[in-house]
């Protein structure tokens, strides 16, 4: 356990020093900006249709989470390639511990980025758009964060077997496509891993947003667990 904590701290420090921490947190904060700004700067004439701030927020959040997933993939692949993961492994640290520590570090990043994003969105939208109060918004953003965790686990999986750029592309584009398309056209199936994003996009019209968000979060966490297990297996077979 102490090794896991040590490695997680080390991973966070590496993310901070390499500006990746700022990149992910900044992208998540920027994702909150459309909700705050677009309704005021875009008119129906400019945008073609009245912009829906919740859809914009969900789509931007999906893109930011895809970026985080791509960064996780590139990070894992780089750790393998430059020998830092090998340096840990020859110290007697189990390979699963290395993967889980990186997952935990990225999870911390998501929390650090999503809390102010949720606050920003609530301050910008308020009860005018969300009459049910802040709880459904917080729950749906948390569910979106869980979808992001699943994306990061997929990133760690591809980073365990591919080269950095290939891993980043193979993760960010599919994850981004799934999350953004869910934001733009949510089917209402809350048992899909990306449905947290869809619940967020339709928060103002949803009948049971809280229950849908919890179901979406559960599906996303289950997906993250499977992807993480595959990532551990892939990393265990990888050359470090």
């Amino acid at each position: 356990m102490s090794r896991f904590v040590t490695l997680t701290g080390l991973a966070l420090r590496e993310l901070w020093i390499s500006f990746r921490l700022l990149g992910v947190v900044g992208a998540l904060l920027l994702a909150g900006m459309p909700a705050a700004l677009l309704p005021h700067v875009l008119t129906p004439d400019l945008a073609g249709a009245p912009p829906d701030p919740l859809t914009w927020l969900a789509a931007a959040l999906g893109a930011a989470l895809a970026l985080a997933s791509g960064l996780a993939a590139a990070t894992m692949a780089t750790e393998r390639r430059r020998g830092t993961a090998g340096w840990m492994a020859v110290r007697g640290v189990g390979r699963p511990t290395i993967v889980l520590a990186w997952f935990a570090a990225f999870a911390v990043l998501l929390v650090v980025g999503l809390v102010p994003t949720a606050l920003l969105a609530w301050l910008a939208l308020g009860v005018a758009v969300l009459p049910a109060g802040p709880l459904p918004l917080a729950a749906s953003i948390a569910a979106a964060g869980c979808a992001g965790l699943a994306g990061i686990a997929v990133g760690l999986l591809s980073g365990s077997i591919l080269a950095p750029w290939a891993a980043a592309a193979a993760t960010a584009f599919p994850v981004g496509a799934v999350l953004v398309s869910t934001a733009l056209g949510f089917s209402g199936w809350s048992t899909l891993p990306a449905s947290g994003i869809g619940v967020l996009a339709t928060l103002d019209t949803a009948a049971r947003p809280l229950a849908d968000a919890v179901r979406g979060a559960g599906a996303a966490l289950a997906t993250a667990a499977v992807a993480l297990l595959l990532a551990v297996m892939g990393f265990d077979r990888a050359e470090l």
């Binding site: 090794r3 040590t6 020093i17 020998g83 492994a89 007697g92 050359e239």
Partner: protein, 275 residues
């Protein structure tokens, strides 16, 4: 040195006979086919120079022994542990230093060594003592608190070696270590592990390792082509370099040696015990 010193005792024939192999490799092969069922036994306390044709195959074997690469088949044991059987024991009993240092460049040498000690499970007090000792011995005390990246490759490579030795491992696996350090300093640092620790050193420049090792092994065509005491090269008037080791391997298989050296009796396995 008198016969009562630990080194002399450790190297005495009676003790040597009781010691098991420090590294035991049986039938190890890789998917790429650069190792095709290699068998190698390195006695405790031996200092083995491993060379290969092509040159990177020795690196592959050392990386497999260190646990950072996987074999496609075969069995391995180091310091009494089966390959990657017990991660804790492996980290304490086996040290590895490769050409890529693997140390985060933003860590200071002191931080990197403390981290290595902590990950290896050393007690705090013991770890601090060892870190200070390692910094002194490696000659990086002046750079102890500056980021390793600012000191350049020599500092990074010294820290990597110090980290590999921080647990006082029984076996040190070294793959082209300290190539950015000046030769005299490199030689001094590579003798730091002491005479009792088993050393497996993969090198593309065998001539530069003269005096550091007491055994040589050549991997050719994915198999062990020769494994002999260094003295055997001299006994056969072969130079201590890649050509000399290849000529020794040629003699072993009855092929005409490239250097035309006179033939001499081949060393038995007992001759490979460390002196």
């Amino acid at each position: 040195m008198t016969s009562s010193t630990p080194d002399a005792l450790w190297s005495s024939p009676a003790v040597r006979a009781l010691r098991p192999a420090a590294v035991e490799v049986r039938g190890v092969r890789t998917r790429r086919g650069d190792l095709r069922g290699i068998d190698l036994s390195v006695p405790v306390g031996a200092r083995l120079l491993l060379v290969s044709q092509p040159e990177d195959v020795a690196t592959t074997l050392v990386r497999i022994l260190a646990g950072v690469a996987r074999p496609a088949g075969g069995t391995l044991s180091i310091a009494g542990l089966r390959w990657r059987e017990a991660a804790d024991g492996w980290g304490r009993r086996v040290g590895y230093v490769g050409p890529a240092t693997g140390v985060y460049p933003w860590l200071s040498p002191r931080e990197a060594l403390s981290l290595a000690a902590r990950l290896a499970g050393l007690e705090r007090g013991d770890a601090e003592e060892r870190v200070e000792d390692a910094l002194d011995r490696m000659g990086v005390g002046r750079d102890a608190t500056r980021p390793i990246g600012r000191g350049g490759p020599p500092v990074a490579q010294k820290v990597a070696l110090a980290a590999a030795l921080i647990t006082d491992p029984e076996v040190l696996l070294a793959d082209e270590p300290l190539r950015s350090v000046d030769p005299a300093e490199r030689r001094r640092l590579l003798t730091l592990p002491g005479r009792r620790r088993t050393l497996v050193l993969a090198s593309r420049y065998p001539a530069s390792e003269e005096g550091l090792v007491n055994q040589v092994a050549l991997i050719r065509d994915g198999r062990l082509a020769a494994h002999a005491a260094v003295d055997e090269l001299a006994a056969r008037d072969l130079p201590f370099n890649a050509r000399g080791i290849e000529a020794l391997a040629d003699m072993r298989v009855g092929r005409a040696p490239a250097l035309g050296a006179p033939s001499a009796p081949v060393a038995t396995h007992a001759d490979l015990r460390p002196r």
